[in-house]
Amino acid sequence: MKLRNKFKFDKRARQSLITYAMVIIAFVVVQILLATGSMTSLMKGLLVPLCVYAILAVSLNLTVGILGELSLGHAGFMCIGAFTGAFFSKCVQDVITIGWLRISIAIILGSAMAGLFGFLIGMPVLRLKGDYLAIVTLGFGEIIKTVVNVVYIGRDENGFHFSIKSNMDLNMTENGKTIVKGAQGITGTPKDATFTIGIILLLVTLFIVLNLINSRDGRAIMAIRDNRIAAESVGINITKYKLMAFSISAALAGSAGVLYAHNLNTLTASTNNFGYNMSINILVFVVLGGIGNIRGSIIGAVILTLLPELLRSFNLDNLRMLIYAIILIVVMLFNSAPSFIQFREKVTAVVKSKLPKKGGVN
């Protein structure tokens, strides 16, 4: 009895290990492909974005799958992280010349700032539920993006100058340099993001999220998701744990933003990268990977990012978005249509009976 419980207790730890292993294997495979030179430049360019999207999907899953609240403003937190990180790196470009150190500090600052905003926005917003919460987070996401678009920050020998009107209003001396240039964003951020840093950041994100879920706090968060009234009746502090999950999720999105910013020369806040489109994209990764399934989020993000590019390389450029949409619908059906679920269970049963000892697929 005791032995069985110990074995069961370790089951979650084993599941986590499989997830880490999956990421590490992917890293090794990519390194081999890079070393043998069998990777196209298109694919090379996708490596860092893949890490960014995987981190975003994992962090959003903390809000959507574990806390059980629908947030449509995730790209807003990514935006905060991206601009904080890029701003920092631009400022210290000449002081700290070691790339990995610079981006590490930028990641810490960016995620702290995004986490802070997550906390501040979460306080009023998390009183709402369901669709209302989704709409308000969507609004906040857009507000963040829009505000970033009108901010001008410059620096000269007198220090920092700030304006929300135009470059001229910064009133700098002639040595002054504009760092954030309104709608033109930040240009010339050092390209510190590498695939290795991306994978390390993804592993750190997984470590935080998986360990949080399998701890006392994670249980409290899931209890709120499953039954708020019952959670309150056993003394769980609803506000505290909702805010905790939301802020951590925001902070991790911020770190993905920093990585994203350090992969680009020019960082601007447009609808496609930090707006509604991006938030929905991340949500699609999470939904298709399985809500509450952290490993699935990574797989979902990777497949759905690679898919359009692969279709492009197969000369199916015209049909690209059509095929993408069809695949989305099929996966959706596969995940939730009753007849598909029955079919899947049948297959699982057959496979299990053929593998009497291990009972493999899960």
């Binding site: 360990n211 949080l212 701890s215 499953d226 039954n227 009746s233 056993v234 003394g235």
Partner: protein, 252 residues
């Protein structure tokens, strides 16, 4: 001094007086019943006692501490735990995790310790695992510790809810219609469970029930409500023979 002291408790929802001038006093270790026809205000009283509703007037003291108008969380920490009429388990979580949520406040480590898996995490988690298993064993649920709570049969879900409430280490346990939806055999088994809980944990229990057999079988004292008012109060046998009570339940 009584463990739970309720004095002239009342609540109004707009013009409706849902509970009016309720006085109840429950001694430590008693099994107290709250009965009444549908809509008499029984569950409202539970919601008042657990802080879901704030009383319009009156006082509630638990073990000498005033808990009137406190939040649900504070009241749980003060020592009142409850179950629900329509079972409210954490359905997506395992049976043992449901109990561990009950143990949440009594066993702590910080978020950082949890994420970084510092020694305290392992120590406290091990203690929680042992305590939770012990509680599950009492309710004969230990063999299903890793089952999803929603996959348990109905009777066991009721038991799990009681186990979860007991995990918060309460002084007073409130059971809201524990026999609802049970057949006679299950009700009989439940009566035994409640008796056992009371002895094993030396627990004071207040329960709401419709099932007269259960009420007359295990409750020592009763309060009968009708339209938010107390109809009769006292020893079970006396109360059940009270002509007003018979009238309210069976009609004239």
């Amino acid at each position: 001094m009584a463990l739970l002291e309720v004095k002239s408790l009342g609540i109004s929802f707009g013009g409706l007086r849902a509970v009016d001038n309720l006085n109840v006093s429950i001694e430590q270790g008693k099994l107290y019943g709250l009965i009444g026809p549908n809509g008499a205000g029984k569950t409202t009283i539970f919601n008042l006692l657990t802080g879901v509703y704030k009383p319009s007037d009156g006082f509630i003291t638990l073990d000498g501490v005033d808990i009137t108008g406190k939040s649900t969380i504070e009241i749980n920490k003060a020592g009142i735990a409850r179950t629900f009429q329509n079972i409210r388990l954490f359905k997506g979580m395992s049976v043992i995790d449901n109990v561990k949520i009950g143990l949440h406040n009594g066993n702590g480590y910080s978020t950082i310790e949890g994420i970084l898996r510092l020694p305290r995490y392992h120590k406290v988690e091990k203690e929680m695992q042992e305590k939770a298993l012990e509680l599950l064993k009492v309710f004969d649920l230990d063999s299903e510790a890793e089952t999803l709570a929603s996959n348990l049969p109905y009777g066991k879900q009721r038991k799990l809810e009681i186990a979860r409430a007991l995990a918060t280490n309460p002084k007073l346990l409130l059971l809201d219609e524990p026999a609802a939806g049970m057949n006679p055999q299950e009700t009989l088994a439940l009566m035994e469970t409640i008796q056992f809980v009371r002895k094993h944990f030396n627990m004071t229990i207040l329960l709401i029930e419709h099932d007269m057999k259960l009420v007359s079988g295990i409750c020592e004292e009763l309060t009968v409500l009708n339209f938010g008012q107390v109809l009769a109060q006292g020893e079970t046998s006396e109360v059940l023979n009270n002509p007003d009570v018979i009238k309210a339940y069976l009609g004239e």
